[in-house]
Amino acid sequence: MHIAEGYLPPVHAAAWGVASAPFVVHGVRALTREVRANPESTLLLGASGAFTFVLSALKLPSVTGSCSHPTGTGLGAILFRPPIMAVLGTITLLFQALLLAHGGLTTLGANAFSMAIVGPWAGYGTYLLFRRFGAPLMVGVFFGAFVADLSTYCVTSVQLALAFPDPGSGVAGSLAKFGGIFAVTQIPLAVSEGLLTVLVMRLLTQSSKGELLRLGVLARPQAAERREEAAA
């Protein structure tokens, strides 16, 4: 759920833009360094961004019977790391605002903060935590995608609650109101996105092992590393 154009009051829109800026600037620096060191990675990063965009065009069957689309932030963060996702996610949000009338430009900062920053960092952190404790890849992937999706919507609820406090119970009541509405749809959707991401990752480990090794998602077997070192 993107916050629609003009939905946030001007001060809130500007404040979320300012909050997002350091993360996006950090991501831009990381991306610029990467492209300057390896010019051919421009194409790979462009393809990654395009993949993130089309992932949000997938219609996901929801447990409630309706349809929604995955945020793609969990899979993106696991594949490309959160700093790069901050940039790719922001460009994707810009494209969605201008090509699909989905989201907006005055709300770009708020949407970037939830979808391109908090979602990827929370999802990637969860994924790393599970992997560090020895969980299998697919368990880490499921919880990474689940947490990324859910945290995105939690932050969106906070953003909406701060912008529109409840007349009776203030920000806390508004948070309960927006959070309650999202919880009905988003908890099942977060589970759905986790499952879909596992299925996608399972197919990728079969069909695109080379790319996953290059992206560092799969560890290179030690024997192969030794052979490469010996050859070098």
Partner: protein, 249 residues
């Protein structure tokens, strides 16, 4: 192609400099957000619609098809403002000024969305992205965005064909089949995106690619009369809002 981008490529204002259209579209959006919703947002919406359907020449049906998406989000987003929770009226009650706030929000979001649509319907992204370098965006980021823009349409096209093929092979008959099809579609998009990137890389390497994607842009001088008219329209809207705000209830 996506409908908005296709309309932008054949727009009457296609050859105008993006700065002119950005000043008009984003100026109207900012006015909608910053002015009081009543009567400001209503006046901005009327002016934007007049420009869209008049001088910009955007077909009404295309505009409605694009506008109904954000409008749906605006309506669903305004509904929670009608209710208050946990106050003196009980766990859930009608908010005292709920309809007024919801109406104002609806006016503001609808009006602001029209401003962005004015820019989107008249300016293809391929005209905007290369010019962002002059606006201070680092060239590598612009290059990545340009590659994204080129590949997105190919992937969406491939995705639609794969979806048709899956449906023809009974890939959407049961819930389990839908899940398998979705996963296959996601993985295929990934594989195709990387395959396309590798093929682009090979093609560009053969043409002496040095890390910079150079794009030729058609010459389009910035029209001062257009910018002056934009300034006049925005100033007029602000003045009219401030006057009407005192006169209207």
């Amino acid at each position: 192609m996506l409908p908005i981008d296709a309309a932008a490529h054949s727009s009457r204002w296609r050859r105008r400099h993006p700065v002119e259209k950005a000043a008009l579209g984003f100026g109207l959006t900012l006015s909608a957000v910053c002015l009081p919703p009543w009567p400001g947002a209503l006046l901005v919406a009327a002016a934007t619609l007049a420009v869209l359907l008049g001088p910009a020449g955007v077909p009404g049906r295309q505009l409605w098809r694009a506008f109904r998406i954000p409008l749906g989000f605006c309506v669903t987003g305004a509904v929670p403002l009608l209710f208050a929770v946990g106050g003196s009226g009980g766990p859930v009650a009608w908010a005292p000024d709920g309809p007024v706030h919801a109406g104002e929000l609806l006016l503001r979001t609808a009006s602001a969305s029209l401003g962005v649509l004015l820019f989107a319907f008249t300016t293809p992204l391929s005209d905007v992205l290369p010019r962002l370098v002059r606006a201070g965006v680092p060239a590598p980021v612009v290059d990545v965005a340009l590659v994204m823009y080129r590949i997105v349409f190919l992937l969406l096209d491939a995705q639609s064909k794969v979806r048709q093929a899956q449906a023809a092979r009974l890939g959407a008959t049961t819930r389990a089949a839908v899940w398998r099809s979705m996963a296959g579609l996601g993985a295929t998009s990934f594989v195709r995106a990387f395959d396309r990137a590798q093929r682009l890389q090979t093609g560009l390497a053969g043409r002496g690619y040095d890390g910079t994607l150079r794009v030729l842009l058609p010459e389009a001088p910035v029209s001062r009369p257009f910018l002056a008219a934009t300034g006049g329209l925005l100033a007029g809207l602000v003045a009219l809002t401030l006057v009407l705000e005192r006169l209207l209830p």
